[in-house]
């Protein structure tokens, strides 16, 4: 049976893993290569590394970080942040990533999705979407606003229509972050996740808001998510992917165990 994936996410700035609450109050959580290996050992089904570095110097550090992290990882490894061209993506693949995630650059140039897919396969292109419910819209969930620049800039795109366009352009997966839920540890936005997951045929990874095991159960059932991302609940030793999955299994969610 196809299992639901638990994906460990590392937000990396200037070569260090950090975690913020609603994109502010950033704190240091460790070395990316070390943490990636630890998450894989502790049962994560996949690792995502999102680079939130803005500087040119920091970006060179990223490739080195990816190389170090990839070296000991034998589970799928996705890298995102600052990938603007197929050429940027190529460097990240050569450093050992299996997938790249694109966000702002895909909004600015949607052809980027097919450009990367043509050379590396659709399975290697994850389109990351940051969305915030729009109370002013006719359907606040399906028409949630798509934001870029770390959630600071409204694009005018609506979440379901953008997810569909991304799929049609050859995205392999959607990584959907609820800006309302992110960092709150109060639960995923299941309505938002379900709206997107039911609108596309490619897998949807739910992100933002994980705090308890019940939140994961919820997003895999009510939210129709194919995978779920978690960062802070792992980093500070609250739980490991393995213990999370053991609890999910008891709740009837198919997961990869033993792992």
């Amino acid at each position: 049976m196809l299992t639901k994936r638990i994906i460990a996410c590392l937000d990396v700035r200037d070569g260090r893993v950090v975690k913020g609450v609603q994109f502010v109050d950033i704190v240091d959580a460790g070395d990316p290569a070390e943490l990636a290996a630890r998450h894989a050992r502790e049962g994560a089904d996949e690792i995502v590394l999102l680079d939130i570095t803005a500087t040119h110097e920091g970006r060179k550090t990223l490739l080195d970080t990816v190389r170090r992290a990839a070296n000991e990882l034998f589970v799928p490894f996705c890298v995102g942040g600052g990938i603007r061209t197929a050429h940027d993506a190529e460097h990240v693949f050569n450093a050992g990533a299996d997938k790249v995630s694109v966000n702002s650059a895909a909004i600015a140039n949607p052809a980027l999705i097919s450009d990367i897919g043509r050379s590396f396969g659709a399975q290697a292109v994850v389109v990351a979407i940051d969305a915030r419910r729009d109370p002013a819209a006719a359907d606040p969930v399906r028409d949630a606003q798509v934001l870029i620049a770390g959630g600071r800039k409204v694009t005018g795109r609506r979440v379901v229509e953008w997810a569909r366009e991304a799929e049609q352009r050859g995205a392999g997966e959607i990584l959907l972050t609820s800006m309302d839920a992110d960092g709150t540890r109060a639960g995923f936005d299941c309505e938002l996740t379900a709206a997107v997951s039911q609108a596309v045929s490619i897998p949807v990874i739910a992100s933002g808001g994980a705090g308890t095991v019940a939140h994961f159960t919820d997003v895999f059932t009510r939210g129709c998510a194919d995978a779920a991302l978690a960062a802070s609940i792992f980093h500070f030793g609250v739980s490991s992917a393995r213990s999370l999955k053991q609890e999910l299994e008891q709740a009837g969610i198919p997961v990869r165990l033993p792992c």
């Binding site: 994936r5 894989a40 589970v75 792992c259």
Partner: protein
């Protein structure tokens, strides 16, 4: 352990090379050097992407060279599209023939309530006496990402069920294939690659 990895410019070789090196193998990569194929001790054909990309194997003469060394007993492992290439063809690219080591063809998962592509960790039902899957138990999980799949045939070494059962691995003499990505399948995947690396050429020619 020497292993020749064929690059047909369809996707990313880094992960396969990394896993092979981790297991102590020395991979040699070629995209068109037939002399490298001729002296290969074992061959891996990785692959993600579109079946049509295998046209490059015909154009470079790799297909004919591979056919020859396989007939001489060189162990060959096709991964993902590389496994599908061992079949007669795929509805993904109907005009592009495969190697036809297996006479059946690959086709897309049927549309229905389940998502296509099939992406993620799914379990294996392992056939008895597989050399490739030696030490791998039924129920172990491996990582898949694909929209087309091969049918279950006499040479199926493991089946996986998504919508319906399909060939997750095939094995016939010195010819092996996995639909999943052993290089991305944790310790189970490394075990499978390690099994392959331990299989030696059998006949002498």
């Amino acid at each position: 352990m020497r292993v020749t990895v064929i690059d047909y410019k369809a996707g990313n070789l880094a992960s396969v090379l990394k896993a092979l090196r981790h297991l102590g193998a020395e991979p040699e990569v070629t995209d068109s050097d037939l002399a490298v194929i001729a002296r290969a001790e074992r061959i891996v054909l990785p692959g993600v992407g579109h079946f049509a990309a295998t046209a490059r194997l015909d154009a470079t003469g790799i297909t004919a060279a591979v056919r020859e060394v396989i007939a001489c007993g060189i162990p060959f492992l096709g991964i993902c599209v590389g496994m599908q290439w061992l079949f007669a063809g795929s509805t993904e690219a109907p005009d592009q023939p495969g190697l036809a080591a297996f006479p059946e063809s690959c086709a897309r998962f049927p549309e229905g309530s389940e998502k296509v592509p099939h992406v993620g960790w799914n379990s294996l039902a392992v056939a008895p006496n597989s050399r490739l899957l030696s030490g791998v138990a039924s129920g172990e999980f491996v990582y898949f990402t694909h929209s087309y799949r091969a049918p279950v045939i006499a040479s199926t070494a493991a089946t996986t069920t998504y919508i319906e059962p399909f060939s997750a691995a095939v094995e016939k003499g010195n010819i092996f294939g996995t639909q999943f990505h052993p290089e991305k399948s944790g310790t189970t995947g490394l075990q499978i690659l390690s099994n392959f690396l331990a299989i030696a050429k059998e006949s002498a020619c």
